[in-house]
């Protein structure tokens, strides 16, 4: 049953929220031992919430658009009184004294929170192997990673442990695991969803977004969490356009651009109508089967009446480099506060500075330390201009080029991830190899634009492939609409493991 199906049934009194919660909790208790999607299952709390909703339904009170829908939260979203770990030893056992804005909004919409999901420590990673509490496995093939950093949330939805989930996306951390797990994952426009209560990785890039088994569910979840929040200075103070009704509008007449540089840099092999033959250099390493699915998706849109062409955004290839300077720089500062003084882990020492060092050395995992080192270096005197300063200018260049391309097309199409889900351990030895996973998703984070990954067929290995639809700022309704069109034409069923 879809999330919207659950909400409709609960609202209509056809199903109790409790019975829904019990179903999902049952699946979790039977299946999560193998998958490891959850850091914490909130069985008691979920049942109590479900009972409250059922009581309200019984009294004839409105219970919200997500009434009784089981939702999983990435464990970097603060939940008052409930442990919030970021999958780090540093925050093990920490119970925040407040809840994230999105958590409050989900509850207000009637959602039932079933647990906190695993992630790469502090959301740094693309495989959910960097968790201090062990990896999450891909429900389609448990020898494979679910992607990351929101791998727990993606796996939870793919495995049927939750109807919806929230993740956070700083360089692709919602979209890439969505692609690898065969579910829908969406990153809203920067500022569209409040970051208040999301434990920060890179503040100028982080956005919270939904996972669902289908586009309509993800859209409903997005609608529930989006909107202005006075507690977040970067929150957009504009009304949220309703998305749901637009999903069936189709793509007739829409102009779709396939980004040459994000399709392995081989536009001539894309065999697409309107290929302009540009010989732009592109990102490396996008697998042939993934590229084929992107071509299939482009053709499907064309058949549905869209006008498809290849477009060039040369600076898109700078994204990865710019990202791996900007994000660690911000992260190095955001993660300074884990010093053993006010909350979380402390490893004591004879003086406060040594206590800081002991605590941070013991509390952070290798990838977190690596990025703190990289970011500290990039910001330090003597290197700022060469690295951080230049990365900020590369970002300007990307914004300019995307603005230009959006004069000619309405949305852009490209792969979400360069490959299907890879084996656990395959990329852990080489950080750079792991970073390359995010090459297609990063541009939207740097520009702040919305993007969505939707399952579209399978790779040569039979694992799900996701294609990515990107749009200009505040084009959520449009990209959901294109994603829905792709979903209707997708070959087979990519969502069920």
């Amino acid at each position: 049953m879809t999330a919207l199906g659950v909400a409709a049934a609960v609202n209509a009194g056809e199903r109790t929220a409790r019975s829904v919660a019990e179903d999902y909790l049952d699946r979790i208790s039977k299946g999560d031992g193998e998958i490891g999607a959850f850091n914490l299952v909130l069985a008691e709390e979920a049942l109590a919430d479900a009972d409250r909703i059922d009581a309200a339904v019984g009294r004839g009170e409105p219970v919200g658009p997500l009434a009784g829908v089981p939702v999983a939260l990435k464990d970097n979203l603060c939940t008052r009184g409930i442990p919030t770990t970021c999958s780090s030893r540093m925050l093990e056992g920490w119970r925040p004294p407040y809840s994230a804005t999105v958590v409050q909004r989900l509850r207000a919409a009637g959602a039932v929170i079933v647990g906190k999901t695993n992630l790469d420590e502090f959301a740094m990673g693309s495989s959910t192997e960097n968790s201090a509490f062990g990896p999450t496995r891909n429900p389609h093939d448990t020898s494979r990673v679910p992607g990351g950093s929101s791998g727990g949330s993606a796996a939870a939805v793919a495995a049927g442990f939750a109807a919806l989930a929230l993740g956070s996306d700083t360089g692709g951390s919602i979209r890439q695991p969505a692609a690898l797990c065969g579910v829908v994952g969406m990153k809203p426009t920067y500022g569209r969803v409040s970051r208040y209560g999301l434990v920060a990785l890179a503040s100028s890039l982080d956005q919270i977004g939904p996972f669902g088994t289908n586009v309509a569910d993800a859209a409903a979840c997005y609608e529930a969490i989006a909107g202005h929040d006075p507690l977040d200075s970067t929150s957009i103070d504009q009304p949220v356009e309703p998305v749901g009704k637009a999903l069936t509008d189709g793509v007739e007449g829409l102009r779709v651009g396939v980004v040459a540089e994000l399709c392995g840099g081989r536009p001539q092999e894309a065999h697409l109508a309107g290929t302009d033959g540009s010989a732009a250099s592109g990102v490396e390493g996008v697998a042939g089967d993934v590229l084929s699915r992107v071509q299939d998706a482009a053709e499907a849109l064309e058949q549905a009446g869209a006008e498809v062409r290849t477009v060039s955004v040369p600076s898109a290839v700078l994204g990865l480099s710019a990202y791996y300077l900007i994000a660690p720089a911000e992260a190095s500062s955001n993660l300074a506060r884990y010093d053993g003084v006010r909350y979380g882990l402390r490893v004591d020492a004879a003086n406060a500075a040594e206590m800081n060092v002991n605590t941070r050395t013991a509390g952070f995992g290798a990838e977190v330390k690596r990025r703190i080192m990289l970011g500290t270096y990039a910001l330090s005197a003597g290197y700022y201009d060469a690295f951080y300063g230049k990365a900020l200018r590369a970002r300007t260049l990307m914004l300019q080029e995307f603005a230009t391309v959006y004069e000619d097309v309405d949305v852009l199409l490209c792969p979400t991830a360069p490959t299907t889900a890879f084996e656990l351990g395959a990329k852990t030895a080489d950080p750079l190899l792991m970073y390359l996973n995010d090459v297609c998703t990063i541009p939207s984070n740097l520009t702040g634009h919305p993007a969505i990954s939707v399952p579209f067929g399978r790779g040569d290995d039979g694992l799900p492939v996701g294609v990515q639809v990107m749009g200009p700022a505040l084009s959520e309704r449009l990209i959901f609409r294109v994603a829905a069109a792709l979903e209707r034409t997708a070959p087979g069923d990519g969502s069920t493991p």
Binding site: S380, F387, P431
Partner: protein
């Protein structure tokens, strides 16, 4: 391994970040960070003349709040999360240096 970052530089950065590494770890980190910086050579080589930096994708300005008192947290709830507490305050080992 390009050696863009030396072990000494890595050690200096570690001190700034309040992290401790063994010499072997420092060597490995120096190599890994050098590789990332090598990859960033395209950004480093960028001709940035006439391009303004973008720190933020959001073109907002002047987001402020009115100067009205809001409830603070309960002290017990705050201190319950602290590693060490005394006299209603956060207790830390002796601080050797003055604040900069």
């Amino acid at each position: 391994m390009s050696g863009r970052i030396s072990r000494d530089e890595a050690a200096h950065v570690a001190r700034l970040a309040r992290l401790r590494f063994s010499d072997d770890e420092l060597d490995e980190l120096a190599a890994q960070l050098s590789a990332v910086l090598d990859h960033a050579a395209d950004v480093e080589a960028l001709d940035v003349s006439g391009i303004e930096p973008t720190s933020h994708p959001q073109p907002l300005t002047d987001v402020t709040r009115v100067d009205e008192v809001r409830p603070s947290l309960e002290r017990d709830e705050v201190l319950a999360q602290a590693p060490s507490v005394a006299e209603g305050q956060f207790r830390v080992p002796p601080i050797l240096g003055e604040a900069p």
